[in-house]
Homo-oligomer: 486 residues x 2
């Protein structure tokens, strides 16, 4: 009945922790990682596996979708589901324990752009802007009331409030599956604060730091300020390309969950290649997980960090969840590195006032933060749908068949608060942006995310700051402009 | 009937601005400051004074409560209200009377900070630490409640909240005589945030920036990070020495109100020379006015900025007033420079979360911030007096007759929250610090404020984090050690 290889243990236990989807996908993933399933093996249909396991078909479909999204499986709807070619890249148990030295690395942050409050009637699709007023007023008030109930300390802990570090560790365990103790968490001034600390501590002047190209401009600035030589690292629609990594990097900044700005989700094989590369070269990988809270197709992917906490420093932020430039983030690293960075914190990378820490602590403890994330995920999903729908006549979502965009196409639409509209090669995005602005829609060319000459022409369309009706208004203006492209 | 000293003018005027409570408390405070009321004088009961003045008893009770909270009055319920021994505030001999600390005593279990505080019984005289728990809990709560009442913005103004900039401008007019419009105020992440912005905007890589020697180590780091070549500028007990300024400086960082750390107050002739120098060379002077709120001999000096706002950028901070690393400061500059710096703010120099801005706005608007400053000024004055008194047998305050310290002497005692104990030339301060630490007192050598070889030996004694009894305990240990110096 089932086409699972004989002896493959996939069982479900309704008394066990974790959803059925998580149980099934974890077991299948372990089977691939452990070699029980091999590249090219065909999996049973979702209907068959559901019947075998006694679960609903939706459960299996969702488990497959998750593994598909993570790159463990491949195939097309209707023609079967196969194990992807990732097994060969899996490191052996010995390599897993190799502990590379923490060499010099750089870090990056996220830039709020030059845009300003909208003129009435104008729609601004600035990326990186958050629907800050989406927070429930009552939970916001409670959080700051809690902050005001605690007097400030004479000696604020440079690692952050211990209670907050513990809550963040628990949050990352719940939401991202990170195995992290409170001692491995540093409270930072957002992603850029964490990057500045890493740059200062790990990068001697002139050290080479790899940054995704296109990538996060403010991150580049922060690492350059720390004295690093910024080396562009090629990115395609799936994310960073490990085979193209330049030599001599002490640090590599990546956004595997949702490449910024192209939106790729790094496939498992590339993740494994990155880890192997870091182990072999002694480089540190900085994983910026800036907006993994907002994922619209399947649950968020496991963080790269989980694959080898010894070579990955993980960065996250409340800025995408609460408000742009909110100024509180977290860095996950081995406790000795956290301690070393905290010693620099009074001078480098900014401060997080204690009341801000108490407020976020209150939002985490009460569950208000996660409730807010769920509400905003729904809201952003509606906006995303409106944007895709409005541009459907002129731009299909997703990369083309061969993995490269056939413009105009919408890239990176499955997560976050922006997508990239890829334009025909060489077409000047600025000209399109000018025409759109003249008609009342502010859009941002992809060019500014490149350190060197842009390899792709496009617009970065943010929907964090625009309502569904505004997005409809914007696409009604953009679609005819796009239809007239050469 | 009344026991007020004869001729003491306390009158109320229902037509005058200010509440009756404010009128009465201001007049009584003026009477103490002016000497019409003296330490130990008994005030009339609230019932009697209310009858005399024709106001409700609650009005008098509240006026007394305010003066009591601020330290002007003392006494117990039922046994009368007395003028406190506040002579430490006034020029002349130090007060002998001990006052209780404003906040709760240091908790035994307080988490160790960078200076490693509070093993029980140990006294930490770390400079730059603020008695953060001195804030009145009610005003702290009100401020953060106000912060929580406003939802965050999608596009936070990179210059800071307009209302806050206006309040800061008004505060600087009131407290420092600065003629500044709101457009000339930038809200920064403390002094270091302002310095980072200036460094990034004004200093091309390799540009020469003058820093006081000895001076503010974190300031040096920030400008160095911006790519500047740091050039030490000689300082004596009065402050920076304009005749010794090196050539080719694009920027000069100074602390004219209270040189950090030596404590000199820059004389007028040197101020004029600095201004003339800046005009002649085109250099920008950065005036860091970090703790001018706390001045014990005379009112704070006018800021250098007032002499020529065209060549001076003024920096101030709430970190000395509220809590160390509070992370909100201000920069005063010509509005076009403010605009240019604000454009960098999202990437450089850190962020000030909007709720923090709203909280400080509330503290300024309500007058709570200035009341807090006044109360803390009294408290710090008492600690200063205790420190001077305790060391009097071995170290006289003030520079020696010829303007240079004849050690051991106490320098810079007239302002702020620290003073410098100058030691005999070449004496290793670290050895003294070790002996003190072994006896339970943590003190900090002056060496770390020098970029180059220290020109003076000394200890920097902070009293922001130690209560009067703790300071007595510390001086009882330090004085014998000092008496044994060669």
């Amino acid at each position: 009945m089932t086409t699972l290889p004989a002896g493959l243990p996939v069982v479900v236990d309704r008394g066990a922790p974790g959803t059925l989807v998580a149980q099934i996908s974890a077991q299948l993933q372990a089977a691939v990682a452990g070699g029980a399933l091999r590249a090219g093996d065909r999996l049973p249909s979702s209907r068959d596996l559901a019947a075998t396991l006694g679960v609903s078909r939706t459960v299996v479909t969702n488990a497959y979708a998750r593994l598909f999204a993570e790159g463990w499986l491949e195939g097309r709807h209707g023609s079967g589901t196969y194990v992807a070619g990732v097994a060969a890249l899996l490191p052996g148990p010995a390599a897993r324990r190799a502990r590379p030295p923490l060499g010099p690395p750089p870090a990056a942050g996220r830039p709020p752009g030059p845009g300003g409050p909208a003129r009435p009637g104008r729609v601004d699709l600035e990326p990186g802007v958050v629907w800050a007023e989406g927070i429930e007023p009552a939970s916001w008030r409670r959080a700051w009331r809690a902050a005001g109930a605690r007097l400030p300390s004479r000696w604020p802990d440079p690692c952050g409030l211990p209670e907050l570090r513990a809550e963040i560790a628990a949050y990352l365990r719940r939401s991202r599956g990170l195995a992290v103790s409170p001692a491995g968490v540093l409270v930072t001034q957002g992603v850029s604060g964490g990057l500045a600390l890493l740059g200062q501590h790990l990068l001697a002047p002139g050290t080479r730091a790899g940054m995704e190209e296109p990538g996060y401009p403010a991150g580049r600035d922060v690492l350059r300020q720390a004295g690093a030589e910024i080396v562009p690292v090629r990115v395609d629609v799936h994310g960073v390309v490990p085979g193209d990594l330049p030599g001599g990097l002490a640090l590599l900044y990546v956004t595997p969950a949702h490449q910024y700005p192209l939106g790729g989700r790094l496939p498992v094989a590339r993740r494994q290649a990155l880890i192997a590369w870091a182990r072999a070269t002694g480089a540190i990988i900085v994983e910026d997980d800036y907006d993994s809270e907002f994922r619209y197709d399947v649950g968020p992917l496991p963080a790269l960090h989980s694959m080898d906490p010894g070579v990955i420093v993980y960065l996250g932020t409340a800025s995408k969840v609460l408000a742009a430039r909110f100024g509180l983030g977290w860095l996950v690293a081995p406790p000795p590195l956290v301690e070393a960075l905290a010693e620099l914190a009074p001078r480098v990378g900014g401060r997080v006032p204690e009341p801000v820490q108490h407020a976020v602590l209150a939002l985490l403890r009460s569950g208000d933060l996660e409730r807010h994330v769920r509400r905003m995920r729904l809201e952003y999903a509606r906006r995303r749908a409106a944007l895709i729908e409005g541009l459907a006549p002129v731009a299909a979502p997703g990369p083309g068949d061969r993995g490269e965009p056939r413009p105009p196409r919408l890239l990176g639409d499955t997560a976050g608060m922006h997508m990239v509209l890829a334009l025909p090669g060489g077409y000047p995005a600025a000209r399109l942006a000018e025409a759109a602005a003249a008609a009342g829609v502010v859009v941002y060319p992809l060019d500014r995310y490149y350190a060197g000459p842009p390899a792709m022409s496009g617009l970065v369309l943010g929907y964090g700051a625009a309502t569904v009706p505004q997005i409809r208004q914007a696409t009604a203006i953009l679609a005819p402009l796009l239809a007239r492209l050469p």
